[in-house]
């Protein structure tokens, strides 16, 4: 490495980047709606994925006229009806945060679908909103942690009771994933809970508080 070498980042861009758009990549990888698949993304494809996502951003300038492939969508978020004209590269997370002003879909992993912090419920399934394109959400019914709390779902109180959070940054992702589990399986085992939540990472290490919280919420739902 002692030899001095001059490069331009412009040159490197030409050498290193491919020509698959973010949207195409997501479709090809089958990750557009993939909340429960996030834990199974192969490491080998990740670096490529990152590069391709970055390349798509380079290839399609969001501010240029070429990107004016606007889609009109209507969706329901936490019971409210919304209509948007969305750019083709917008993620659902971007829509929820920047356009609707919700704070619960969080960004930890930088949009790689690797942490679960942005999980929302879409048409009854937990999805990673960072890997879900907004333009494909036309007609979707979305639930976020804010909506789950507003509906007074017992998962909220049981998470509080069991202290299933510390810094709280990843918590809304756990809450939505857990609520989706209870929607489809009202009587889960602890193993079911652990499997359902295994795609959600927590840096405070609160993992062991979540199964009892979810199981208690399940019991509360049965009593309703």
């Amino acid at each position: 490495m002692s030899e001095k070498e001059k490069k331009t980042n412009e040159g490197e861009r030409k050498e290193g980047f491919g020509h698959i758009s973010r949207r195409e990549f997501l479709r090809d990888a089958g990750l557009v709606i993939g909340g429960s698949t996030m834990g199974s993304i192969a490491f080998a494809s990740e670096t490529e994925a990152q590069q391709q996502v970055k390349e798509s951003d380079v290839a399609k300038d969001p501010c240029s006229e070429e990107s004016a492939d606007i889609t009109t969508i209507e969706l329901t978020v936490n019971g409210g009806k919304y209509g948007f004209r969305v750019e083709p590269h917008w993620s659902l997370r971007q829509l929820l945060r920047d356009e609707i002003g919700l704070t619960s879909p969080k960004d930890w992993c930088g949009g790689h679908g690797a942490c679960g912090s942005c999980t929302v419920i879409m048409n009854g399934r937990p999805v990673l909103s960072c890997l879900t394109l907004a333009c494909e959400c036309d007609g979707a019914i979305i639930e976020t942690a804010e909506g789950i709390a507003k509906a007074k779902h017992p998962i909220i109180q049981s998470y509080i009771k069991w202290n299933a959070f510390q810094c709280g940054y990843c918590t809304p992702g756990f809450v939505t994933t857990a609520k989706a589990l209870l929607d489809r399986n009202p009587d889960p085992t602890e193993a079911d809970v652990r499997d359902a939540l295994a795609g959600n990472l927590c840096r405070c290490g609160t993992y062991q508080q979540h199964p009892p919280a979810v199981l208690e919420a399940a019991e509360a739902l049965k009593r309703k």
């Binding site: 501010c63 690797a114 804010e146 009771k161 709280g168 809304p172």
Partner: protein
């Protein structure tokens, strides 16, 4: 305040027990419902966004930069380059790393992969920032890089960070930050007394800061006034307002201790004139939003402070529009826990008594690597030789974080036990002590200074062994094969608990309408010291927990100091002030309850003006306050609410209390002044594993954490530090590692997929046991419990694998490939 200030001798009020305390956190609903607003969530009208270039090279200089295309992009509002007059002055004033050197705010040369450097773009959105950064054409000059510290220590190594200002007098060209040797006792004498001398080498790979919310901060100028919404615990006012700061270190300022450690002997080079303040101290306001986790590897402090300074400069140029400076997920890989090589030599007797230990460490220096061994044993002879050189891997520096001390400490006990066929818990007890003193000596110290006569280590080991059934399960190395074909192993680590009281901060309590507000600013990233604060003030002042909240206070300079963030130090550092304040408040309430009320009503609606006492004929010592009521002790039915009493005097003498606390005083030994403090509380952790000898996988099947917290304020908070710390420690011990390409210096796994963070299915339920010995120096004998569990568990895997297989794997993280290699399978 009494002259003899000994908070550990204070007795908690009757009924104060956190053992079964399950009061809910005040931040609970916000966080669980997703409505908690973190710095990264802030969105203000007219806000601009700023992003910094990150280096694609491990070491490269910007030769030229063409920003014309980026400038032409719609929505770009400003571009600040490394050589701009507004920023060039800031070089060498960025952040502070472990008192040894300053990192740079916006350098023109990258020192490691993904270093924030070169140029920052301000635009209408993050997206436009990203696009603009990609449109900037940069001509780079790649420079030689070094990833191996031993290579960097060589006198003929290329100089790899020429712009870094190294402050230590022992710093040497080309790359040495520090070299020194510290010896306690007589190391050669210690080895001569040993029956056996054991030598081994430990290596630790770098791992990341355990963070979830990448750096962000929002800054807005209002004329000469500066409003800041920072990320994390940076104490920003001194950084921005102190003109002498560029010539001194920042150290604890960033942690919130409020002190500035001068190093005026080593002023930054290339500066003759002092840096003018960015803003006068009394015009700075700080609001602290919620903070995402950011644990371990304290070098982030440098970046958090550097970011704020950068944002303030950008906001100034933005002419009163708020600017949000954000960093992407690569931020987590800038900093972290240090890599190191430890060449260890230990002398011990056959009964397990350690006579000498000698560490030769190549790695970043946070504290002496023998510090905690010295603090928590009677070992009389210790030596630490330190060699630290810069490498192009970012700034993996931490001080008082502890892994760098805990790992060699516990491996030493494992080795001595293995060498003589002893139980490591017995070896630990054999050597228990404080700073060369044995426990008999410590017992005398305890008696004289008002501590209970207890041996914490004996207590925590007993509790842990019982919980994991140690005596039943312990076996010789490699001796127990399970029916499933795996090998069974037990691991054990122990060390002292963390911080004791240091003081400096003060509390502000405001009681109005029977509701109490604790005012203080701290960057809470989840440790929930708030509940402990509320609980201690409630019981001391006689109020209801539910009637107390903690509020962040917009800060004008140093009016309300930042409190330490929590975890390892929050409770021990802050409760003495809170308890003192609460006691003063209670005295004030009772005093006014027996005093004739003012004859002149101060405000409509207040009950003053009657001219009579609320408890006619009663003296202060006849009254008490509990659960929000002032009452006559002999006749509890005779009571008035605190609201009534306090409201009556609010207009004349508002119930605002903010005492400071003095430095510790009154410690003696043999009747003579003895200022030395000894860390007498201990922690012990026990792990059960199954090792698959075909795959090398190490499965944790059982984990017991026992922490002696001295006095427990908040059970749920303490347990959260235990299980949370345990998972962090196990990550450092067995899975987490930053991997660099040896040919390019580029990080290969710098994302949440490639970097192995454990999930819910990777760990068993962790049994958390709390011991209360009251041997800490803080209120009621409390001490810290936070990051120490994570630090001490950072080395636990090797001992467990040795017990399972009879093979040492001392290369952290202990991954399956290394286990297989030790087993001779690959």
């Amino acid at each position: 305040m009494p002259e003899d200030y000994k908070p550990w001798t204070w007795k908690p009020p009757e009924g104060f027990s956190a053992l079964d305390h399950t009061s809910s956190r005040q931040d609970a609903h916000d966080k669980v419902s997703g409505q908690a607003v973190y710095t990264r969530d802030l969105d203000f009208p007219g806000m601009l966004y700023a992003k910094i270039l990150t280096s694609p090279y491990a070491h490269a200089k910007i030769v030229s930069m063409d920003t014309s295309k980026a400038e032409a992009l719609t929505g770009v509002r400003d571009i600040l380059k490394y050589n701009d007059p507004d920023i060039v002055f800031e070089n060498s004033t960025g952040g502070y790393c472990s008192s040894q050197y300053n990192i740079l705010t916006l350098p023109g040369t990258s020192d490691f992969f993904q270093q924030p450097m070169g140029v920052v773009v301000v635009a209408d959105s993050e997206e436009i920032c990203d696009r603009a950064l990609r449109l900037i054409v940069i001509e780079w000059e790649e420079r030689p890089f070094i990833l191996d510290m031993e290579e960097s220590l060589q006198p003929d190594a290329p100089k790899i960070m020429p712009d870094i200002v190294r402050l230590n007098p022992s710093a040497k060209d080309p790359n040495i930050v520090q070299t020194n040797t510290t010896e306690i006792g007589d190391i050669q004498k210690g080895f001569a007394e040993a029956d056996k001398i054991i030598e081994y080498t430990i290596t630790r790979a770098p791992n990341t800061t355990a963070g979830v919310e990448a750096m962000a901060c929002v800054v807005q100028w209002r004329g000469d006034f500066l409003d800041i919404w920072p990320h994390h615990t940076a104490h920003v006012e001194p950084m921005l307002s102190n003109p002498s700061l560029p010539s001194i270190g920042l150290s604890f300022v960033s942690l919130g201790y409020g002190s500035i450690q001068a190093d005026i002997k080593s002023p930054p080079k290339d500066r003759k004139d002092p840096l003018p303040p960015i803003c006068e101290a009394n015009k700075i306001s700080v609001t602290m939003p919620y903070q995402g986790a950011w644990y371990g590897g304290i070098a982030w402090l440098g970046y958090s402070t550097a970011f704020i300074r950068m944002a303030a400069i950008l906001a100034k140029r933005a002419q009163n529009r708020p600017v949000k400076l954000v960093y992407d997920e690569s931020n987590f890989y800038l900093t972290g826990d240090d890599a190191a090589i430890y060449r260890c030599k230990v002398g011990a007797k056959r009964d397990g008594t350690i006579t000498a230990c000698d560490w030769h460490v190549v790695g970043p220096f946070g504290e002496l690597h023998i510090d905690k061994t010295h603090e928590s044993t009677k070992i009389p002879n210790l030596r630490n030789t330190q060699e630290w050189a810069l490498i192009n891997q970012g700034h993996h520096i931490c001080f008082r974080h502890g892994s760098q001390c805990c790992v060699p400490h516990n491996i030493m006990f494992d080795h001595v036990a293995a060498e003589f066929g002893l139980d490591p818990t017995e070896v630990a007890l054999k050597n228990d002590g404080c700073r060369e003193h044995d426990w008999d000596w410590i017992t005398r110290y305890q008696k004289e200074n008002g501590f209970p006569q207890r041996q914490s280590l004996r207590e925590v080991i007993k509790l842990g062994k019982e919980a994991i059934h140690w005596d039943k399960k312990w076996h010789a190395p490699g001796a127990r094969k399970l029916p499933n074909g795996r090998m069974h192993g037990l691991g054990f680590v122990h060390i002292n608990e963390w911080s004791w009281i240091s003081g400096r901060q003060f509390a502000c309590l405001i009681l109005r309408d029977g509701k109490l507000t604790i005012i203080g600013m701290r960057a809470d990233h989840g440790m929930d010291t708030e509940s402990a604060f509320r609980h201690s003030v409630a019981t001391e002042a006689g109020l209801r927990y539910e009637d107390i909240v903690v509020q962040q206070q917009r800060s004008d300079a140093n009016t309300y100091r930042f409190w330490v963030p929590g975890g390892s130090m929050g409770i021990s550092q802050n409760t003495p002030q809170l308890v003192s304040a609460a006691r003063e408040l209670k005295r004030k309430i009772i005093d006014y309850a027996v005093r004739p009320a003012s004859g002149v009503p101060m405000m409509p609606g207040l009950q003053s003006g009657s001219g009579q006492s609320m408890f006619p004929g009663k003296k202060a010592d006849e009254l008490d306050v509990k659960e929000g009521y002032v009452f006559e002790k002999a006749n509890p039915i005779n009571r008035r609410s605190v609201r009534e009493v306090a409201s009556a005097f609010w207009g004349d003498d508002p119930a605002i209390i903010h005492p400071t606390v003095p430095a510790l005083s009154g410690l003696t030994l043999n009747g003579k002044p003895h200022p030395q403090m000894y860390i007498m509380s201990r922690q012990a952790h026990f792990m059960e594993v199954e090792v698959d000898v075909e795959t090398g996988e190490v499965m944790v099947t059982n984990l017991v954490c026992v922490n002696d917290v001295g006095h427990l304020f908040n059970r749920r908070g303490a347990e959260a530090q235990q299980y949370g710390g345990a998972i962090m420690g196990l990550g450092r011990s067995a899975t987490e590692e930053k991997i660099y390409c040896p040919k390019t210096g580029v990080g290969l796994n710098f994302n949440n997929i490639g970097y192995n963070i454990g999930t819910m299915n990777d760990y068993p339920e962790i049994k958390c046991i709390i011991n209360e010995s009251h041997l800490g120096y803080s209120s009621y004998g409390a001490c810290g419990v936070g990051e120490d569990t994570g630090a001490s568990l950072s080395g636990i895997t090797a001992g467990a694998v040795y017990n399972a297989t009879g093979k040492w794997v001392l290369d952290y993280p202990v991954t399956p490939d290394k286990v297989l290699k030790a087993l001779g399978k690959i």
